[in-house]
């Protein structure tokens, strides 16, 4: 039996005789009543979505899945393609399951795939990823949420737009937190 803090995005839970992939998990300590985790889940067999709330005393069956290093290849319609570098086997995963993480993928990027019964059911992207800046216009004051004094929008090699310090120039490499989408630091090569 697992504890509720182990319920995370990407894990597989056995629930009512079906297997569900957790697509989002939110931990709440509401002050009233004991802490709980709300998990958004998708059935691996039917694709049907559901939401469950687990408390510390609840029985949660997290299914062990194998983790395998995969390389991101390309997006084709509603699917992302990845390659297993050992077997050269290609795996496809629905864009819907990849979700918001899709925007952080870049050519050749290494990710971890969760393998269940021979197929990839989820991917985990690194918490921080380096990107080359392909476009970095000077900061324009007044047209963004920020003050415009310290940060500006930059476009990265995979098309992702992020906020970065105004001193960042085209061609430089920056580190992005893939959890928040926020700039971490400049990488000096």
């Amino acid at each position: 039996m697992a504890i509720i803090t182990e319920v995370k995005k990407g894990c597989v839970i056995k629930h009512q005789n079906d297997l569900y992939l957790v697509t989002d998990a939110r931990f709440t300590n509401p002050g009233k009543g004991s802490p709980f985790v709300t998990a958004k889940m998708k059935s691996i067999t039917s694709g049907k979505g559901t939401e469950m709330t687990y408390k510390a005393v609840d029985e949660i069956n997290i299914v062990e899945v194998q983790k395998q290093k995969l390389q991101y290849l390309y997006k084709n319609g509603d699917f992302y393609s990845f390659m297993d570098n050992e077997t050269y086997e290609t795996h496809e995963l629905e864009a819907e399951i990849v979700g918001d993480d899709g925007k952080y993928l870049k050519d050749g990027m290494e990710v971890y795939g969760s393998i269940f019964e021979g197929r990839v059911v989820a991917i985990t992207i690194p918490p921080k990823v380096q990107y080359k800046v392909t476009e970095a216009a000077p900061a324009v004051k007044g047209n963004t949420a920020s003050s415009g004094r310290l940060m500006k929008d930059v476009t990265l090699e995979n098309g992702l737009v992020a906020r970065a310090p105004i001193f960042i120039k085209e061609g430089e490499t920056i580190l992005i937190n893939t959890d928040t989408g926020e700039y971490c630091e400049r990488i000096n090569e």
Binding site: T28, G31, G33, S34, K55, V57, S146, S147, R163, Y183
Partner: protein, 335 residues
């Protein structure tokens, strides 16, 4: 520079935040409320069974140490003030609760508006909350139509009827609530308290759906879930309400219990639950009970989560974006 970048990213949202703090004060001052201060370090914090205070150690000039806690709410201090004759008071400042998530709808250090009105009931505070939020909506030129509309007010009994088609009157003890949980497919432990069982259903089947469009006040809570509030005639429910909007709980309000002995009894029970829940345990603040003995009159008091209110006006889903420096970035855990 991460702390500074955080501020810069949220520059406009923080401007809105500080404007809201100013408007809250203006609104209450117009109504002759006095802004009071409460010590944030207390010797004996509240006894709420699921709220964990943060411990601090203070040393005097001779090096003698004293164990204290950061207040989880200014309630006790404010009721001590009410006992001396203060009539309309508010606190707008920080409160602290340990073991909360860093981000989402929580931050361990958060801003609370707590306000008390003498010779009033929780109905008066429903009006206060509605008028205050509408005042901010107008002054900020946010002009959200749903906030400007007449708010919905429903009893807890009505929402249980509406969302799960049961009469809450029939489920006011743990045994019956346990059976209801089981019939709805939950697997609660036999030892769970009434409140735990209640929230299993409420948090899953009811809370996410209330106040989706129009701010909604849910009032009349089962008596055993309203430790500091006045009982309603009939003895089943108590005068407590919560405000919900867009699936978030924004405020919690009571007609205050003013019976010192009853209050002491309820706090002793809560203290026992804390022991059972393995929370920090400390004595009951007898000075607070003394305040009730001296008399706090017929008053009502409420607590509004100011950060969450700001989130409504900045249309944010994460509290971090409306804080100058959220706990998630304070320790630079990322590095």
């Amino acid at each position: 520079m991460n702390h500074i970048y955080h501020v810069d990213r949220n520059f406009k949202k923080l401007q809105i935040r500080f404007a809201i703090l100013k408007l809250i004060r203006e609104f209450l001052w117009q109504d002759k409320f006095i802004e009071i201060e409460s010590p944030t370090i207390v010797a004996l914090p509240g006894q709420e069974p699921n709220i964990q205070p943060m411990q601090v150690v203070v040393h005097d000039d001779k090096g003698k140490s004293f164990k204290g806690y950061l207040h989880t709410s200014p309630e006790y201090t404010m009721k001590k003030m009410l006992a001396t004759g203060f009539e309309k008071i508010f606190y707008l400042g920080k409160c602290f609760r340990d073991e909360e998530s860093f981000g989402g709808t929580h931050n361990p250090e958060f801003t609370m508006l707590e306000w008390y009105r003498q010779n009033a009931s929780y109905y008066d505070l429903m009006d206060d909350l509605e008028n205050l939020t509408k005042f901010i909506n107008k002054k900020l030129k946010f002009n959200n139509k749903n906030i400007a509309k007449k708010w919905k007010r429903q009893t807890m009994k009505q929402v249980w009827q509406e969302f799960i088609a049961v009469n809450l009157d029939d489920y006011l003890d743990s045994k019956k609530m346990y059976k209801l949980c089981v019939s709805l497919g939950y697997k609660p432990a036999k030892t769970e308290s009434y409140e735990e069982l209640f929230y299993r259903i409420f948090l899953n089947k009811i809370e996410p759906f209330i106040g989706k469009d129009v701010p909604t006040i849910i009032y009349e809570f089962p008596k055993c879930m309203a430790s500091l509030s006045k009982e309603i005639k009939g003895g089943k429910y108590a005068e407590r309400f919560e405000l919900y909007y867009q699936g978030i709980e924004l405020a919690n309000v009571y007609t205050e219990l003013n019976d010192a002995e009853e209050q002491k009894k309820r706090l002793q029970l809560e203290r026992k639950t804390r022991q059972k829940n393995k929370r920090l345990v400390y004595p009951i603040d007898e000075e607070f009970i003394d305040a009730l003995r001296a008399g706090i009159g017929n008053c009502a008091g409420g607590a509004l989560g100011v950060d969450r209110l700001v989130m409504i006006f900045t249309m944010d889903k994460n509290i971090d974006n409306v804080l100058g420096l959220p706990m998630s970035k304070l320790f630079n855990k990322e590095k």
